[in-house]
Amino acid sequence: MIRRRLVARSILAASIAALAVLLFVRGKGHILYLDTNAVELGERRLRAPELSAVFVDGKDAGEMGRAERVIAEVAGPRHEIRVEPLSGEGEAAARSLKLPAAWTEIVISIPALLAGEADELVVTRFAAPPESAESEPNSFQQDESEVIPLAQ
């Protein structure tokens, strides 16, 4: 009797945990930096078309020239990115990409995608440029949302 209850409870706990993981993966918001900068792969140098139209999940993300970055926000693990060269260089390509749930900001390399490179080369984690040391610790900067009103 007690054992059955224990089993039932652990199953419940496990399924809630599984649900939480599922929700995390499904709801994880990603900021995609669609990037047309040229990429160096050993000897080869991949360049983006002069002008291309990029679609994320069928939605127009905008027309991009070379060496540009466009931001698109998506949620969930898998997204289809389609690139249509408008300047007549090469064929249109569409790829369904898997985004790691742990990464929030992700760079999608358009040239690598067009060249049919492996996913790891297309999807890379965005490395933020090191921020300038803003302020010494414990100084309350006067930004509206930084004022902490403490009552009671």
Binding site: P137, L150, Q152
Partner: protein, 347 residues
């Protein structure tokens, strides 16, 4: 060992912790570059500022009305007294005396009604008092806007109507008690003799009140209403009397506070007066049903000491401003402790 345990249970563990904490703060102060003399001076000043409001808890606890969460009523009476005194343009001792006298008069009036109300809700006083206090603060906030005050020091200029949120008493009776016979020792230590004398005077008044015939009748009414009734004491009258007295002390307390602080805080100001006073008397060893003047002195000193010392000492040790959080946890934790103590006689 046995005796230590007895002492701990008698005195209450939280109280001992707080006292040790304060001692620790004073010991640590010089090592982190905080001046003990000025800390002590600040503590004593705040002790005097807040003492009478803490004293305002005593009569009501004695008559069995519980903790006086209705302190804002007294504070409002004090604010009325102070603002009317300024409106009349009285300066110096006369101004302060007028403020105090008016405050006491208003407090007697409000306290009478408040006492009558509390007599009809025996057993539920604390929660009702809290909300009666809060609603009277907001009602008075409407009053501060609507009442026909004229004095240019108090009324907003062009933008807005009604009284200012903080009014300086500098031109009227700033620090009038603090500076009376003040003793200065060394560079950083000032003893505000006048204010402490006022506090002691009020404490003496409470002491007389409790030990005269009417006072002991009141205590009887509080500790055992049935017995008191049987011996011919009018319990309700005793309770009303204690509430009036408490409210008057609250009113006097805020006027003393204002003269030391230098400002009158209207509108939401009174909100922040109640909990520190309640916490202070509890830290001093009072419970929901028992309180003495010694509790007031000890508690006010301990609590105000911690409030003065934590910002300076803790902040220089931890390099962050934890004092607000500590204040919240200590004061509310203390009230919580008093409310949940098992030893209390069931109502």
């Amino acid at each position: 060992m046995e005796r230590i345990r007895e002492f701990v249970s008698d005195f209450g563990l939280p109280r001992i912790i707080i006292a040790l904490f304060l001692v620790l703060l004073f010991v640590a102060a010089p090592f982190v570059g905080v001046s003990v003399a000025s800390s002590l001076s600040n503590t004593i000043a705040r002790f005097g500022m807040n003492g009478i409001m803490v004293l305002a808890m005593v009569p009501m606890i004695h008559s069995g009305c519980g903790l006086n969460f209705g302190l804002p009523l007294g504070v409002i009476a004090g604010l009325l007294g102070a603002t009317i005194s300024i409106e009349m343009g009285l300066v110096g001792a006369a101004g302060f005396a007028a403020a105090a006298a008016l405050a006491l008069a208003f407090a007697a009036l409000l306290g009478y009604g408040y006492g009558k109300l509390l007599n009809r809700v025996k057993g539920d006083e604390m929660m009702i008092a809290t909300y009666v206090g809060f609603s009277s603060i907001t009602l008075m906030s409407i009053g501060w806007i609507v009442l026909p005050y004229q004095s240019p020091t108090m009324v907003w200029g062009f933008e807005g109507e009604g009284l200012r949120t903080t009014i300086s008493v500098e031109a009227f009776w700033d620090k009038i008690l603090n500076d009376f016979l003040a003793v200065r020792i060394g560079e950083r230590f000032v003893f505000p003799t006048g204010m402490i004398l006022a506090f002691c005077g009020a404490a003496l008044a409470v002491w007389f009140f409790l030990h005269l015939k009417s006072g002991s009748a009141m205590t009887a009414a509080g500790s055992n209403p049935a017995y008191a009734r049987a011996s011919g004491i009018d319990v309700d009258r005793m309770r009303t009397g204690s509430v009036v007295f408490s409210t008057m002390l609250g009113a006097l307390g805020i006027v003393v506070y204002q003269q030391s602080f230098g400002f009158i805080q209207l509108y939401e100001g009174p909100f922040s007066m109640t909990f520190p006073s309640v916490a202070a008397i509890l830290i001093g060893g009072a419970s929901v049903t028992k309180a003495s003047i010694a509790n007031v002195f000890l508690g006010t000193f301990l609590f105000q000491g911690i409030l003065t010392m934590t910002p300076s000492v803790i902040n220089s040790v931890l390099k962050t401003d934890l004092s607000e959080v500590i204040r919240i946890i200590v004061s509310n934790g203390m009230i919580l402790y008093a409310l949940t103590r098992k030893t209390k006689v069931a109502k």
